[in-house]
């Protein structure tokens, strides 16, 4: 079973994307497997709506460990199972909380072993300052993913008014990546993501 890892900054919409994408693929209930830094596994059964209520928040760093879902996708005469892994958001700073730092380490390790990396960027933060910043985590994920040739960039929050301009900026900033604009909240662009994922599982 292939593992797709969703990475990005805190609050870029990773968890919401995972859950809404699962729902888009026809899943009504999800079994979320949480894996903490010290490899403790817990599995919880949610309906998608419950999971959204419990796991998604507008506060940063809601997700603090690796959370995996097993999803099905019909391909030809078969359905293929794949694992969609949601991770703790990573940023440039060293966080003061232990758990979050450990979560970030987990994220990096998940990226290393992923069959496929889905990188989510929040379009609202793609300002000129963002691009000129000396250390940029998104640029590093991009560089790493491209080198491994298993990379897809999702530009999230396309529904917001300033997103259109920022999308153009992002395109010139990270030119080589396959980029799909989406709205995780309103489920826009999921059809293209589905196609892309289907080709890679």
């Amino acid at each position: 079973m292939r593992e797709l890892v969703v990475v990005g900054r805190p609050n870029s919409g990773k968890t919401l994307f995972c859950l809404n994408f699962a729902e888009y693929l026809g899943t009504k209930t999800v079994d979320v497997t949480f894996r903490t830094f010290d490899d403790l596994l817990t599995c919880r059964h949610f309906t998608v709506a419950e999971a959204r209520r419990e796991l998604v928040s507008i506060v940063q760093h809601k997700t603090r460990c690796v959370q995996s879902l097993v999803l099905k996708m019909p391909l030809g005469k078969t359905t293929v199972n794949f694992k969609l892994t949601d991770t703790c958001g990573i940023s440039e700073t060293i966080h003061s909380s232990d758990t979050i730092r450990q979560g970030m380490a987990q994220t990096l390790s998940a990226v290393r072993f992923a069959d496929f990396v889905i990188h989510i960027i929040d379009l609202t933060i793609v300002t000129p300052e963002f691009i000129n910043a000396p250390a940029n985590i998104d640029q590093e994920i991009y560089r790493y993913g491209l080198a491994r040739r298993n990379y897809l960039l999702l530009a999230n929050k396309i529904d917001l008014p300033e997103a259109k301009n920022n999308l153009r900026r992002l395109l010139s900033f990270l030119p080589q990546a396959p980029l799909l604009p989406i709205s995780a909240l309103y489920r826009k662009g999921f059809k293209e993501v589905r196609k892309y994922v289907a080709r890679n599982i």
């Binding site: 005469k77 060293i94 380490a105 290393r112 250390a135 940029n136 790493y144 080709r199």
Partner: protein
């Protein structure tokens, strides 16, 4: 982790695990960790080959096709399987280019006498289709009339559906399928056929139905149910083996079991095959009869050897004509 000081931020780690631990301990930022991982993994971990149905899967299909090629005779069948493989592959590539594709209806009819390799080929097909991601499991469920037809009204559909459920993700192989239509108007076999036809349409993406049986009976069966013919786009004929092919099969079976046939023993096998063939035209089991001959001779060889106190390695492997020639007598 305590070993890393504050200055660790500027030291490159040699091991990816150390990098991750340093992130967890708060010694370095995720940015510099990714930079270091990039350098470390660039050499250590090769870029992933994401091509679905890429080299490795094609290699596996080739391996299975080679297994098919190692079967003796069956030239037309082999050709057809290769055709099928090419067809599916090209349909997939066309789909990638957004060209129009033919729907993959792969229900089949196998016609041939018993022991001509129908089940073997069906098994290999299952494996190939699994590797090509056409079937999710690629297993073979082999059933006959008795597994499908029930005892009272309504029981048949229940039983048939049960078998179908087992077959989803693989192949449902119905041996002697013509017997489903044999009993006349009131027979429950009709009900089974109706149930199968419905499943073929409703679950056409989940399984492949193969009907197998003798040539003449199958043709009669298809004539009595005009709807069936068109629902099975692929018909494969399994011709009887020639004597030479049967002899080759016997040799192959011996090699697989690590036995050897002496030239005289080969002649004896031929005689035994002829004798069996003359016994009854229709009941002749082709390759299955050959297997029985060989297995029986292996047992006879064991009886012959057990009398000896000492046996060499060669003794244990060689099958003599006297082991074989007695076979037809035993049958009678």
């Amino acid at each position: 982790m305590e070993r890393h000081g504050k200055q660790q931020q500027f030291i490159t780690h040699m091991d990816p695990h150390e990098v991750l631990n340093a992130v967890a301990a708060g010694h370095i930022t995720a940015v510099s960790a990714l930079q270091q991982l990039y350098d470390l993994d660039k050499t250590a971990m090769p870029p992933l080959n994401r091509e679905p149905g890429g080299d490795s899967s094609r290699q596996r299909v080739e391996d299975i096709l080679r297994e098919l090629d190692s079967l003796i005779g069956l030239t037309t069948v082999k050709q057809l399987v290769r055709e099928l493989y090419a067809f599916i592959e090209i349909q997939k590539r066309r789909q990638k280019e957004h060209l129009r594709t033919e729907p993959l209806v792969l229900h089949m009819i196998f016609k041939g006498n018993p022991g001509t390799g129908k089940t073997t080929v069906a098994r290999i097909l299952g494996k190939i289709l699994r590797e090509m991601n056409v079937l999710s499991r690629g297993h073979l469920i082999e059933v006959e009339r008795a597994d499908l037809v029930g005892e009272y009204i309504g029981h048949t559909a229940q039983k048939t559906r049960e078998q179908l459920k087992k077959a989803y993700g693989g192949i449902l192989f119905i041996d002697e399928a013509y017997s489903l239509a044999r009993g006349g108007e009131k027979d429950f076999g009709k009900e089974a056929i109706d149930c199968l036809v419905k499943a073929m349409e409703d679950h056409k993406d989940e399984f492949i139905l193969i009907l197998a049986g003798y040539q003449k009976e199958m043709e009669y069966f298809l004539q009595t149910n005009p709807g069936l013919q068109s629902r099975f786009p692929i018909h494969i004929d399994f011709p009887d083996y020639t004597e030479q092919e049967l002899l080759q099969i016997a040799e192959q079976m011996c090699v697989k079991r690590q036995y050897q046939l002496t030239p005289a023993a080969k002649q004896a096998v031929l005689t035994a095959i002829r004798a069996q063939r003359n016994l009854g035209q229709n009941n002749f089991g082709n390759a299955r009869t050959v297997r029985n001959i060989i297995e029986k001779s292996i047992r006879r060889q064991a009886v012959r050897l057990i009398a000896k106190n000492k046996t060499t390695r060669e003794d244990l492997m060689v099958i003599e004509p006297c082991d074989i020639l007695e076979v037809p007598e035993c049958v009678n």
